[in-house]
Symmetry: C2
Subunit: 361 residues, 2 copies
């Protein structure tokens, strides 16, 4: 069943949005019986699909912060760069492309800042489905190369993720739309990162997540809540979401109690390209998650992100800029703590190596 | 105990080479009791060390060839790109840097075509050991960026891997030398890829490996042999090694029965930069492995590699060129078969994306 988190309406059949315009979330029976590999390890917690494909997504390293005697004795990096296409998106894509394959779709479309596009391109290739990917024209070249390599068609769009989505949506009759926000299967795959963290160290005190559309943030919270509902865990983490200054509509709506997301000034730019999202599909569900978990949102500057990239890499974690925003946020907002903190490192540094050229060594 | 595969001499204490000039291999008690994560899952099969560090290396996807009804119904890709630094090297590095840390070394040195350098830089950073990396000046820029990001010092050398090693060896008193061929702990980590394949699908009929120094090839064979010695398995795979045309000293020595490795013509170049090695440290042990396993070596051209890169990516596997050499070899030398074949995809395509610009889509 698919439920609207805004108006509460439910749908038994798959669709992209609620009639009220909101995203939809899957709701169904859950059973905690992890077994096997990839996202299907958690099939008891996932919506049923007719076909299951996996390219070995998930079971990524949970690396303990090296400086264990210092400011953060219990801090971990969940390194999602170790997924097949180099980002956490592969978890969601495994679900979405499995669903598309089971339903007999031959063509998928997606708008992306690059990572989701590469992921959908790879899994579509594996499933023998053709893919079309709309990306902003200033997407890092490695990401575009990767998407093209998998055989997908790339459509470069002047503008941001939002303009890419508009182009895709104009053409929606042509495709199965395989993207987060629009397709509720996406978050179902992404929530498996919460299950893995739980299997490895139990429920952390705090989870820090980079926020673009708010999809991953919503999914992680949904995952921890469902673990509790299924009787597997007893507590819930505090959720902390991080946006890039200049692209922080969720932070601003949450702080200022707005009822719509404010537009950034035109021409704004951030090095954290994979979270540079103006109109966040899952913004309201992300705000719900922060409020329910008694967490917070904050934004960080490009300079803070660059310093955090350097620190992370000096501990052996080579992350794309959006991922390093989590460490920048911890240092800015959390300070010394004995709590058990997990930072989601969402993408590999090899996705955007040029960003490292801006660091002074 | 460390044993010379050439003259048979043994050493109880760690050292880089045998007095006869050959590499050394570790030999010791083995116990098959896999448990836990990273390379230490197989600690019963590994040499003892005083410290154990892991960044979550290993347990990489074994992805079944999509075209299962066609030419190769039982072909798998072992995708080593899903290691912390994007290549299989992390397995060996986990052992080597653990050993260095346990013995109290503060500085490591390595010569590398890029992947080993990035891996040693990352694990050294994690272990708080300083690292110096000698690379050929034409190493792909992503790899150099990555090494620098981890905080290691990069020394660019005019020439190939062999000239890099000469420079490192001149300075050997300054470092713990953390590289394959020289340091026997390296192969001990790398052999864990055989253990994982065995846990997932048993012993395959054939394993196909890209060959530069011959280290990984030697390690995979050692791993399967030790599984049999430990009583865990009953059979051994046929080993197939692939080099790039123009950099194929092992192929030529094996085919022509030479007693030394022939030098490539000066100025030769291959797109498969990570296996562009003139003087293969583990060449003789690799030749022993092919002969013992009744396998073979072959070489493939850059054009064959480029075609294989395109085919692999069209199945969702984005590999660096050296890795795609394995598929090129299967298509050239093996043809249609029902055998269970595993191809080692040693590095992520994001390590060398420029190579994909040379493919016609």
């Amino acid at each position: 069943m698919f439920e609207c988190p805004e108006c509460g309406k439910t749908y038994s059949r798959f669709r992209y949005f609620c009639r009220c315009g909101s995203v939809l979330l899957w709701k169904g029976k859950t059973l905690w019986n992890p077994e096997g590999e990839g996202v299907w390890r958690y099939s008891g917690m996932l919506p049923p699909v007719k076909e299951r494909i996996s390219m070995g997504e998930g079971w990524t390293p949970l690396v303990k912060n090296r400086d264990f005697v210092r400011k953060y004795p219990e801090m971990y990096y969940k390194f999602e760069g170790d997924n097949p296409t180099g980002s956490f998106k592969d978890r969601g894509t495994a679900l979405v492309i499995s669903h598309a394959l089971g339903e007999g779709y031959g063509k998928v479309g997606v708008a992306s800042t690059g990572n989701m596009g590469a992921s959908v391109a790879a899994y579509s290739a594996y499933a023998n489905i053709s893919a079309e990917v709309f990306v902003p024209e200033d997407t890092p070249p490695q990401k575009i190369t990767q998407i093209i390599a998998y055989g997908a068609r790339v459509r470069k769009v002047k503008g941001t993720f939002s303009e890419c989505f508009s182009k895709l949506w104009e053409n929606r009759r042509k495709y199965y739309i395989a993207m987060t926000g629009v397709n509720p299967y996406y978050l179902e795959g992404e929530k498996t990162v919460a299950f893995e963290i739980f299997e490895e160290i139990g429920v952390p005190d705090t989870v820090v997540v980079p926020v673009g559309t708010g999809g991953l943030f919503t999914a992680v919270w949904k995952g921890f809540k469902e673990l509790k509902q299924a009787g597997a865990s007893k507590k819930l983490p505090v959720m902390v979401g991080v946006q890039a200054e200049g692209f922080s509509p969720i932070v601003r709506a949450w702080e200022e109690g707005l009822d719509r997301f404010p537009m950034p000034d035109p021409g704004r730019h951030t090095i954290a390209s994979s979270i540079a999202v103006k109109e966040p599909f899952n913004g309201w569900t992300a705000i719900d998650a922060v409020n329910e978990s008694k967490g917070f949102f904050c934004s960080v500057t490009d300079n803070q992100i660059l310093r955090a990239m350097k620190k992370l890499a000096a501990e052996g974690i080579f992350a794309e800029p959006a991922s390093a925003a989590t460490l920048a946020a911890v240092e800015k907002e959390i300070g010394r703590t004995d709590e058990r903190i997990v930072l989601l490192v969402t993408g590999h540094g090899l996705k955007q190596p040029a960003a490292y050229a801006r660091i002074n060594h």
